[in-house]
């Protein structure tokens, strides 16, 4: 065999290999309408019709994830609470509303005839899902708010939507920052005690809640780590007794994306915590280490930003090179394609800023 024939054989072999590789790697619906298998947030195998052209998003985490994957143009229906932050969602606010994230209107969804409905893993109910399935609508349950499963779920959603590149891009950005934070705080001599309060006063975020998970990732120890229920009610006296070094309160407190004085409600909340009766006895209050964090960077696709802020509050010396606000700005501009606006954490407390 001469060299020309050899080159042709190698080229032909390479072409066969490439086509075989592409056949297995490309989205299974690339060649036409098919089905694709996905693993949902409950670990179930779900058969999704492909290609997915029409999506109903039942919650803000799902909608934000769709924007990360640049698939917002496929959204045909949204949750009714979207109007609470209309500046952030832009044109998506004008999409048909399908009701509450907990119990959406089956009839409106059926009329929109989406290919998939994105819902949380455990909400709405299985009965509602059965009603959707009986209409030929696939429900894909993904939480998209838990830091530990976020990347897997984003990749899964990206695969279903044929947006694997966008999913990979986000996941590598997310894991790069998570690893960087982990590496920065790994040298910490000790993990400070933290009290994490949920939206309601005197309601501690305990194990199995997203808040507990974030404290651990940020290099802290949750004073509620031994409590048995995820959002446990506790007494003010118990917090005084546990004497945390840092207090973090999380919830939907911000006036929204682009609001004129977005930081004011966050600061008001922080002052309220610092002025609680007898809480001046707590180390965190005495040192001004009390912070309020908006739920948009708490759990959800932007959890890494929240974790960066928390790590900075817990380990200011080790995290001096990381600017959480710059990280947030990068996320907004790169993955949401929006200019960075708004306030998401309270200002440093007066006692702390003076030191």
């Amino acid at each position: 065999m001469n060299a020309k024939v050899k080159s042709c054989a190698v080229a032909a072999g390479f072409a066969v290999f490439l086509s075989t590789f592409c056949f297995f790697q490309a989205p299974s619906w690339a060649s036409g309408p098919q089905q694709i298998e996905a693993i949902d947030g409950l670990g179930r195998k779900i058969i999704v019709p492909a290609p997915v052209r029409k999506i109903v998003a039942l919650n803000s985490d799902a909608l934000e994830a769709l924007r990360i994957l640049n698939a917002q143009d496929r959204v045909v229906g949204v949750f009714s609470q979207i109007e609470t932050d209309s500046a952030f969602w832009g044109d998506l606010v004008n999409k048909p509303k399908v009701g509450s994230w907990r119990e959406p209107n089956s009839e409106i969804i059926a009329e929109l005839a989406p290919d998939i409905v994105l819902a949380y893993a455990k909400t709405p109910s299985p009965e509602w899902e059965a009603r959707m399935t009986s209409q030929g609508i696939t429900v894909l349950r993904l939480d998209l708010y838990k830091a530990e499963t976020l990347e897997r779920e984003i990749r899964e959603l990206g695969r279903v939507l044929g947006r694997t590149q966008e999913a990979e891009r986000f996941c590598s950005w997310n894991s790069q920052w998570m690893n960087r934070i982990e590496s920065e705080i790994s040298g910490a001599p000790q993990r400070p005690w933290v009290y994490v309060e949920s939206y309601s006063d005197y309601q501690a975020a305990a194990p199995t809640s997203g808040g507990h998970e974030m404290v651990v990732m940020a290099g802290g120890r949750n004073i509620a780590e031994d409590l048995a229920i995820p959002f446990a009610r506790i007494t003010p006296e118990w917090v005084v007794t546990r004497n945390p070094e840092v207090i973090i309160k999380a919830g939907s407190f911000s006036s929204g994306y682009g609001a004129a004085d977005a930081v004011a409600p966050l600061n008001k909340r922080r002052d309220g915590i610092m002025n609680r009766p007898a809480w001046s006895l707590i180390k965190a209050v005495a040192t001004g280490n009390v912070h309020v964090l908006d739920s948009s960077i708490w759990v959800g696709p932007r959890a890494v930003v929240g974790i960066a802020y928390m790590a900075k509050w817990l380990h200011p010396d080790l995290m001096s090179d990381i600017d959480p606000e710059a990280l947030h700005k990068e996320y907004m501009e790169t993955f949401q394609r929006l200019p960075y606006k708004g306030a998401y954490v309270s200002d440093p407390a007066p006692e702390a800023s003076g030191k």
Partner: protein, 344 residues
């Protein structure tokens, strides 16, 4: 004849003494529970430190007792007292054993007021506004009952039916806004409806005390009239009681007491219904004793529930609204089963 009269008198006085002893017993139990409430908590401040801190500034222990435990104990007593008296008054003027501030929709009205602030103004950012709105709506629901009653000559049936109707209306409105709420708001609403004494500070106590204690002398002055009302509207009228006027003022006073109780603490629903029944079984239907006894037993019930709520599963706190039912219902059943005759 004289002997019979003397026997009757002796019997009457003996019965009164028994009632006074029972009242005293409730009072002593209440004092014991106050001491317990001030002595137990998450910190290491025990009975001796707590006692010392009451009279002397001992630093940390003094702050814990005066700023955390004492407000809780005082608010628990005020709320229990107010709900107990209000329940007793509602049952007397409506002549119905099921009447209470909550079965008349006043609690649901307060709940709706709280829900409005949580949904539209950002909830726990404005705790005073939640309390204010709950207060306004509880009074609004009371005045709604009074308005309808006024048009229909204040019959007890009209008042009860109006109360039940508005209870369903306000519950439905609350559920509607809850349905529309975000996850955070749903949590906040749920916790408000569980009831809590944790947010009780001295400022709140001052306001609640005024609302709860000021109407009490007025109600005590009308205790005889409440007794006569039990004999029926016609006979009460014949004996000089202005029945319609008494109902209107009674509902107004009891509603103010209820509003003062629940606007800061959320729903603690069971006390107003059951505290009056518990003491009625023991001391009868004489409102001169029944009103203060209902108040004291309500205070004892809420305070006991609060102490248990904070200790049985510490550091978790069992919501006070749940705990009052846990301890009150079995006790109520026990008394009910022991009775050999109708007491109402």
């Amino acid at each position: 004849m004289k002997t019979d009269s003397e026997t009757l008198c002796r019997g009457y006085h003996a019965q009164n003494r028994r009632k006074m002893v029972l009242l005293l017993l409730i009072f002593i139990l209440l004092l014991a529970m106050i001491a317990t409430g001030l002595s137990v908590g998450a910190s290491s401040v025990g009975p001796v430190d707590a006692l010392r801190s009451l009279f002397k500034d001992t630093g940390r222990a003094h702050s814990i007792v005066w700023l955390l435990r004492m407000p809780r104990v005082v608010m628990a007593m005020l709320v229990g007292f107010g709900l107990g008296v209000a329940g007793s008054v509602f049952q007397a003027i409506l002549k119905n054993p099921l009447a209470s501030p909550f079965t008349l929709g006043i609690g649901s009205g307060a709940g709706f007021g709280a829900v409005l602030v949580i949904i539209f103004l950002g909830g726990s950012l404005y705790p005073q506004m939640i309390a204010g709105s709950a207060f306004v709506f509880s009074l609004f629901s009371a005045f709604l009952i009074l308005g309808v009653a006024k048009m229909k000559r204040a019959s007890s049936e009209t008042m009860i039916l109006t109360g039940i109707a508005q209870m369903f209306l306000f519950s439905a409105l609350s559920a509607f806004f809850q349905y529309m709420g975000t996850m955070d708001q749903v949590y906040e609403i749920t916790f408000w409806h569980f009831g809590s004494l944790a947010k009780a500070g001295w400022r709140e106590i001052g306001f609640a005390a005024a609302m709860i204690l000021l109407p009490f002398p007025f109600l005590m002055r009308r205790a005889w009239d409440f007794n006569l009302l039990a004999t029926g509207d016609e006979s009460a009228l014949a004996l000089g009681v202005e029945v319609e006027r008494l109902r209107m003022w009674g509902v107004t006073a009891a509603s103010f007491m209820t509003a003062g109780c629940i606007c800061f603490t959320g729903v603690i629903g069971f006390v107003g219904l059951v505290a009056p029944h518990i003491v009625r079984m023991a001391i009868g239907n004489d409102h001169r004793l029944l009103l203060p006894a209902s108040g004291l037993s309500g205070a004892l019930l809420v305070l006991t529930a609060d102490v248990l709520a904070n200790t049985v599963w510490a550091p978790h706190v069992i919501p006070i609204g749940i705990m009052t039912s846990f301890i009150g219902v079995p006790f109520f059943f026990y008394l009910l089963m022991r009775r050999t005759r109708e007491y109402w």
